[in-house]
């Protein structure tokens, strides 16, 4: 997502990375972080490497269409071997909440969305996961690997790397992949079922709250009347 000076890793995906690193510790393995983005996105990959990802891959393309993102990522992933693919649940910028499941469908892998717990079983051949169904209800599912898990925020606390790790990460190489390496041409990446008309602030579009003005004390007096009226 866009920050003032650059890009920050999507918060939801940070939880996925945290879980990946935890799984690496619990089950032994290697974590690769992958992103589709411009060169500016490399800062977020270095931040991931500082947080104990082992490898990083950047695919040179940008899109706000989740179908395109999923298709490109799927092609890159197909050319590598992974037991588990972890994603977040929703991006802070596009907010489509689709890439994880679309990716699983393109890879023809089993998937689970809003995962809050992952346990490795069968010597690494399967996982037992807990996922949210909404309203406080959860489901426990056994899934054979390879699989895609869309990790829910809050699965564990996010860790912050020490400065030494940040500096060390900057010396690692990021694997750069071009869409043409994956068999995509410009036309395939531009297909859309819709076009953008305009963008605006919600308050320009929908009826807003009635605002209570004045000093905190004045606003508090009015607010309390509004509360009492409703009770």
């Amino acid at each position: 997502m866009y920050h003032s000076y650059g890009l920050a890793a999507n918060e939801s995906d940070q939880y996925a990375l945290e879980e990946a690193v935890s799984l690496k510790d619990r089950a032994r393995g290697e974590v690769t972080v992958m992103t589709m983005g411009s060169r500016v996105a490399e800062d977020t990959l270095y931040a991931c490497l500082a947080r104990r990802a082992d490898k990083a891959v950047r695919i040179e393309h940008e899109s706000i269409d989740p179908n395109i993102t999923a298709s490109v990522l799927a092609e890159a992933i197909k050319r590598r071997q992974y037991d588990l693919i972890l994603t977040g649940v929703e991006s802070q910028d596009v907010m489509a909440a689709q890439v994880g499941v679309l990716l699983a469908m393109r890879l023809e892998l089993p998937f689970a969305y809003a995962v809050t717990e992952v346990e490795v079983r069968d010597g690494g051949g399967a996982v037992r996961i807990t996922k949210e169904l909404g309203g406080g209800v959860s489901q426990v599912i056994d899934i054979a690997l390879p699989a895609v898990l869309c990790i829910q925020s809050g699965i564990r606390r996010l860790s912050y790397p020490p400065l030494a790790a940040v500096l060390k990460a900057k010396r690692l190489l990021i694997d750069l992949v071009k869409p043409s390496d994956l068999g995509f041409d410009q036309e395939a990446l531009g297909v859309r079922a819709w076009r953008l008309l305009d963008a605006f602030l919600p308050r320009q579009y929908k009826q807003q709250a009635e605002f209570i003005n004045g000093s905190p004390d004045e606003a508090a007096t009015v607010m309390l009347s509004r509360v009492k009226e409703a009770l």
Binding site: A97, V137, W194, L196, P216, A219, T221
Partner: protein, 328 residues
């Protein structure tokens, strides 16, 4: 019939989800505007009474795919079943809810059909020639309006709070049983158990007044201010997802899609930006008052009253006022 509007009906524990009824009412409005039919699509097991429950909720026809194997079906299997119905009736627009069900079944259904899913939408209208869709971006602080290619069918998921229509009474719908071929069994996944929240302890949904803290509260220690306000008003404290993720509040106090849906007489949101997943859990509240320093926070689209200001100044003032201590 081609060109119709279809609604994916959600159900669990033998009941139709409220969101689906509201989507059918919305679908009725859209279908009437476009002069096409409205179809409800239902997959599962033991669906007879569910189909009956939908007959006066707006659709012209209810298409039911009933198979015992679909009783505890996982999202991909439900999507596959739904895709077969869609291929048969060929609607031009399919409506779903933007919720846990929609986030999992939606992309899977879109993939099976080879169409786009436009998700997290605040509104959809028929322009006469195409569908005009408004959806949220950038943490809800922006809306974008997009126009669809009218010759391509697509799926649309609507934010639960965006669909407020009450269920309609109409002529009773026809019910059609859809025949499905051999079920593709999913051998790579197996449900072990379902965990429901315990009923004991605090139930915030019973309170008349709820005071909710969002990220704007800044730290766990600042929550005592929110507790003081709740105490002064005879209410309970609740929180948004980020606070529960950080461990500042227990899960039972979470209001939103992943927690409780509440509708108290008074809902006060302090430092809550108003993300769709949170709003889905409180938009039915009697009177919503929001305090936040960002005038563009999406919470002000759902609140009845808003105060743009520093909650660390406003909340103490309200506490003083409630205790009769304010000078005037």
């Amino acid at each position: 019939m081609a060109g119709d509007v279809g609604v994916v009906v959600e159900h669990s524990d033998g009941e139709i989800e409220g969101t689906s009824l509201r989507l059918l009412a919305k679908g009725r409005t859209l279908a009437d505007k476009k002069s096409v039919g409205l179809l409800a699509m239902l997959v599962g097991h033991d669906t007879n009474h569910l189909a009956e429950a939908l007959r006066f909720s707006g659709p012209d026809e209810i298409v039911v795919l009933e198979r015992p194997e679909l009783e505890d079906a996982l999202p991909e299997q439900r999507a596959r079943a739904m895709a077969d119905i869609v291929k048969d009736i060929a609607p031009s627009l399919i409506l779903m809810g933007y919720n846990y069900h929609g986030m999992e079944v939606g992309p899977a259904l879109a993939s099976h059909l080879g169409v786009s899913l436009i998700s997290n939408c605040a509104e959809v209208e028929w322009s006469g020639a195409s569908w005009i869709v408004t959806r949220s971006m950038y943490e809800g602080f922006y809306h974008v309006r997009i126009e669809t290619n009218a010759s391509i069918p697509f799926i649309l998921s609507l934010q639960p709070a965006a669909v407020r229509n009450t269920p309609v009474r109409s002529d009773p719908a026809r019910v059609r049983r859809f025949d499905w071929g051999p079920i593709h069994a999913e051998t790579r996944m197996k449900v072990v158990e379902v965990l429901k929240p315990t009923m004991e302890g605090l139930d915030i949904s019973k309170a008349d007044v709820i005071v909710t803290a969002g990220r704007g509260i800044g730290s766990a220690t600042n929550l005592k201010l929110i507790q003081e306000l709740a105490d002064a008003l005879g209410g309970v404290v609740a929180g948004t997802r980020p606070l529960v993720d950080l461990g500042w509040l227990e899960k039972g106090r979470l209001v939103g899609m992943s927690g409780k849906t509440v509708s108290p007489r008074v809902y006060i949101a302090c430092g809550v930006s108003g993300a769709a997943q949170h709003v889905a859990g409180m938009s039915g509240s009697g009177r919503i008052i929001a305090i936040d320093k960002n005038p563009n926070a999406p919470i002000f689209q759902v609140a009845h009253y808003g105060i743009i200001g520093d909650l660390f100044q406003v909340v103490p003032a309200v506490i003083r006022e409630a205790r009769g201590l304010n000078p005037g």
